[in-house]
C-alpha cells in the first residue's frame, strides 16, 4: 500500500520543479510548459486526496483544472505567436518596454 504522503511529496516535488522552470528559463514556450507541469502537480494532489476520502470530487475538480489549463495554453500560445511577430524573439527580456 502506498501512503498518501508519497503522493503529496511527489506532487510538491513536481510543483517545485515547475516553479523552478518558470523562474529559471528565459524562453516563453518553456515557461508555459513549466506552468503546465505545475498544474499537473496540483491535479495529482487533488486525485490523491479524492481517493483518500473515498469521494469523486477530486477527479471532478481535475477535469476543471484540465479544461482551464487547455484554455490557458491555447490563449497563451496565441499571445506568444502575436508577440513573436512583433519582436522576432522568444525571450521575455524583449518585452520589457514598461520597465522603469
Amino acid at each position: 500500500m502506498v501512503p498518501i504522503s508519497y503522493y503529496l511529496i511527489l506532487s510538491g516535488l513536481l510543483f517545485a520543479i515547475g516553479t523552478a522552470g518558470v523562474f529559471l528559463r528565459r524562453n516563453v514556450i518553456t515557461l508555459l510548459l513549466s506552468v503546465e507541469v505545475m498544474l499537473n502537480a496540483v491535479n495529482l494532489s487533488f486525485v490523491a486526496f479524492g481517493r483518500q476520502f473515498g469521494t469523486v470530487d477530486g477527479q471532478i475538480i481535475t477535469f476543471f483544472v484540465m479544461t482551464v489549463a487547455a484554455a490557458e495554453a491555447a490563449v497563451g500560445l496565441a499571445i506568444v505567436i502575436a508577440l513573436f511577430r512583433h519582436r522576432e524573439s522568444l525571450s521575455p527580456e524583449a518585452f520589457t518596454n514598461l520597465k522603469w
Binding site: F23, I29, L32, S34, V37, V47, Q52, F53, A78
Partner: protein, 175 residues
C-alpha cells in the same frame, strides 16, 4: 516492496525525470517530448489511484491535444533556432539577473515545501484504506452534472472565450 509500491516508484520516476528534462533541456522540442513522457507517467499514477477515467482523459486532453498545440507552436516559430537570448552571452537580450534571483527563489520554495511536508502527521496510512474506491464513470457523470453543474456551464463559456481569443490573437493581421 509490494507490487503497488514498485509501480508507484516506476511511474514517479518517469514523471519526475520527464519534468526535470523539461526544465533542463535546451531544445524546446525535446522539452515537449519529455513532458509527454511525464504526463504518461502521471497517467499511470492516476490509474494506481483508481481513477482510470481521469488517466485516460489526461492522455487525450493533455498529451493528445494541448501538447500537440505546443509542438505546432514550437515548429511554427522555429524555436530551436531562436534560443540565442537564453544561452548566448553576447545576445542583447541575455540578462543573467532574473535567472539568478529565480534560482534563489526556487530553492526557497523547495525549502518551504520540505518544511511543510516534514510537519505532516497521520499520513502514513495507505491511500484509500480509510474509504472504499468510488469511481465509476457513471458516478462521475452524476456528480458532475448535479453538484458541479454551474462550474460545468461556466467552463464551457471559458472554452469558447479561449477559442475565440486564440483565433483572434494568432490570426493574420488585417483579415
Amino acid at each position: 516492496m509490494t507490487f503497488d509500491l514498485l509501480l508507484f516508484y516506476l511511474f514517479a520516476a518517469i514523471t519526475v525525470g520527464g519534468s526535470l528534462l523539461v526544465v533542463a533541456q535546451r531544445n524546446p522540442i525535446y522539452s515537449v517530448v519529455s513532458i509527454v513522457a511525464a504526463f504518461c507517467g502521471l497517467s499511470g499514477l492516476y490509474v494506481l489511484l483508481e481513477a482510470p477515467f481521469v488517466a485516460v482523459v489526461q492522455i487525450i486532453i493533455y498529451a493528445g491535444a494541448i501538447l500537440v498545440l505546443f509542438l505546432f507552436t514550437v515548429m511554427l516559430l522555429n524555436a530551436t533556432r531562436e534560443d540565442g537570448a537564453e544561452w548566448d552571452r553576447s545576445h542583447p537580450y541575455y540578462r543573467p539577473g532574473p535567472t539568478r534571483v529565480g534560482g534563489v527563489l526556487a530553492v526557497v520554495l523547495l525549502g518551504q515545501l520540505a518544511w511543510a511536508i516534514s510537519r505532516m502527521t497521520g499520513l502514513s496510512a495507505g491511500v484509500g484504506e480509510a474509504a472504499p474506491a468510488a469511481s465509476s464513470v457513471r458516478l462521475l457523470g452524476r456528480v458532475l452534472f448535479t453538484d458541479y453543474m454551474f462550474a460545468f456551464e461556466v467552463t464551457s463559456i471559458l472554452i469558447i472565450a479561449g477559442m475565440v481569443g486564440a483565433v483572434v490573437l494568432a490570426g493574420k493581421k488585417g483579415n
